[in-house]
């Protein structure tokens, strides 16, 4: 059996809301958060988990981390059922929420780690060794003696990651780990995750809205919408399904005669640059090139695939999410 095995998971939430304004009666409303979700993940995989807000991503993570009990279905991680024997189970997982800190705010980071050592009952030498390893990989050395509140957002996220990996979890859940981070911090974080995944064969399930994260890290992605799994496979295969348009940017020598170009290309100008988009399916690339050359002498030109966020938005729309 695979490392994570999820079969037919269902979860509904019951929300009570007022029937109408001013009414004292409340109505029960059942919101299905997960509908018959199944998947398998092998040990050492790095999987992206995406979907629009409210799709059921965090519900899945909460069930797999033992915080929630599903209504029906089965799940096992390394042979253990997450919602049975919580205390034993959580020793083997780590969770990082991008917007919720687990370290203590006013004390030096090192003190927080020492307390986590006591909470997880990590033997002293194992703790030392792991802490050194993580400190080096995350470049935390100078920060250990600093109170958390004085760290920048990027430093804080690195500190959080270290905290959640001290007990050497076999499985790591990451929920929006790069939210609000600057470019340098994002890159550093991604490098670290790749390292941890490779060196320690830690299985990682990454939930995010940042498609760059997914593209950079995850060979495999699962798409969730309305509580159902809609896609499971490689990111490029997923994108090629929706990625029909290309954007072309051309720089001409002198003023081009754009009137020779057909309508519907969404032409825009930005100083010397002419930008347009086309679908290779309907207008083959050589034909477009001919037309562009007719318009003037091309000095420089680039062809780009569509912006990945735009693509995902299109995809969600097409999947009716």
């Amino acid at each position: 059996m695979s490392y994570i095995h999820v079969q037919g998971l269902n979860k509904r939430f019951i929300v009570r809301r007022k029937r109408e304004k001013g009414s004292l009666l409340r109505e029960k409303q059942v919101i299905p958060a997960l509908r018959d979700v199944s998947f398998d993940i092998e040990e050492g995989e790095l999987v992206g988990y995406i979907g629009p807000n409210g799709a059921g991503k965090s519900t899945t993570v909460k069930i797999l981390s033992g915080i929630l009990t599903p209504d029906s279905g089965e799940a096992a991680v390394g042979g253990r059922v997450p919602w049975k024997d919580r205390k034993e189970y959580v020793k083997h997982i780590g969770v990082v929420f991008g917007q919720r800190m687990q370290l203590w705010w006013d004390v030096p980071v090192q003190d927080s780690y020492d307390l986590l050592r006591d909470i997880y009952r990590i033997p002293e030498d194992a703790y030392r060794q792991r802490l050194n390893e993580l400190t080096e990989a995350l470049d935390l050395g100078p920060l250990l003696r600093t109170p958390l509140r004085l760290l920048s957002l990027g430093q804080r996220m690195r500190a959080e990651l270290c905290g959640s990996l001290l007990h050497r979890p076999r499985l790591l859940f990451l929920d929006e780990p790069t939210i609000g981070l600057d470019a340098v911090s994002k890159l550093a974080l991604r490098d670290f995750l790749r390292w941890e995944n490779r060196e320690n064969r830690t299985t990682i399930l990454l939930t995010t809205h940042d498609m760059e994260d997914i593209a950079a890290l995850c060979p495999r992605v699962m798409v969730l919408g309305h509580g159902q799994k809609l896609y499971d496979g490689g990111l490029s295969a997923l994108l090629s399904r929706f990625d029909r348009t290309r954007t072309v940017t051309v720089r001409y020598d002198g003023e081009p005669d754009l009137s020779v170009l057909p309508a519907g290309l969404g032409i825009s100008r930005e100083g010397e640059l002419v930008r347009l988009s086309y679908e290779p399916e309907t207008l083959p690339t050589p034909d477009l090139l001919g037309l562009l050359q007719k318009a003037g002498a091309i000095r420089e030109m680039t062809v780009q695939p569509q912006n990945i966020d735009r693509l995902i938005a299109d995809m969600y729309r097409e999947m009716d999410l």
């Binding site: 958060a33 909460k62 205390k87 020793k91 919720r100 909470i119």
Partner: protein, 266 residues
């Protein structure tokens, strides 16, 4: 044993973090001192006007006030995770973080906060206790000292148990959680004075439901040499245990509520 060590280490760390802002800490401690001093002042003024309360003389009344004050604020100090922070932990989802760690939820909640400012209130309570026992006067014997210690210890668990009611209501997302204050803060206000002050319904409430009377007044009345209801001495040792029993019951209820939390979502 391991749990106690974890608790002590957490406390040490939290104290350290509170002392990061010494000026603010001092100021707030002072405010607590004035606050509890004001409560004591009210008792002094009442005694000034009325001289006594039934058979209870001024010394007895200060003693009872002090006993309640010390017990209540010891709980507020060391049980802060439950008495103060729990509702916001549920609201903000911080409780989820605790479920991700291999320790009992209640243990972690208790480890998550301490309120050393209450030391000021405890000091006022101690002053009142000493003043009362001087005035009464209490002739201290080892047995009486033991009774006092047991009473404070059991009251700690009783009050913690009563605050758990609010925690449970919170988990079930009941909107009017303040109702629970009637038992906790109401119990503190009412049982600063001996239980026989009150009419039967209140007496029953604070004996059977929230047994402040059993935990504090029965032993206190023996220490003061005026046994309530003429109960024999051994009852003074037995009665406070009801506080621990109440905590035990509430602990079980809390565990059930956590099961509900995990199946109902947040």
């Amino acid at each position: 044993m391991d749990t106690i060590r974890l608790y002590l280490r957490s406390m040490a760390m939290l104290m350290k973090s509170q002392l990061q802002y010494p000026a603010s800490f001092l100021m707030q401690t002072l405010a607590q001192l004035v606050m509890e001093g004001g409560e004591l002042m009210a008792v002094i003024l009442l005694i000034d006007r009325f001289d006594r309360l039934n058979q209870w003389m001024p010394g007895d009344l200060y003693f009872c006030f002090g006993l309640m004050s010390v017990s209540f604020y010891l709980t507020e100090c060391f049980g802060r995770g439950i008495t103060g922070n729990f509702p916001s932990m549920v609201r903000t989802g911080q409780l989820d973080t605790l479920l991700l760690r291999p320790r009992g939820v209640l243990t972690q909640v208790l480890c998550s906060a301490v309120d050393p400012r209450r030391i000021a209130c405890i000091a006022v309570g101690t002053v009142s206790l000493v003043m009362g026992s001087r005035m009464a006067p209490v002739l201290w014997t080892p047995v009486k000292a033991l009774l006092l210690a047991e009473s404070v210890f059991c009251a700690f668990w009783l009050i913690l148990g009563l605050f758990l009611i609010e925690a449970v209501l919170c988990i079930h997302s009941v909107r009017s959680v303040e109702v629970a204050n009637a038992l906790t803060y109401g119990g503190r206000s009412a049982c600063q004075y001996p239980i026989d002050t009150y009419p039967r319904p209140l007496r029953v409430l604070f004996t059977v439901v929230a047994p402040f009377a059993l935990v504090m007044h029965v032993p206190a009345s023996h220490i003061l040499g005026k046994p309530l209801f003429q109960w024999p001495l051994w009852t003074a040792f037995l009665a406070p245990l009801s506080g621990i029993a109440l905590f035990g019951v509430m602990y079980l209820v809390f565990r059930r509520a956590m099961r509900f939390y995990r199946s109902a979502g947040s």
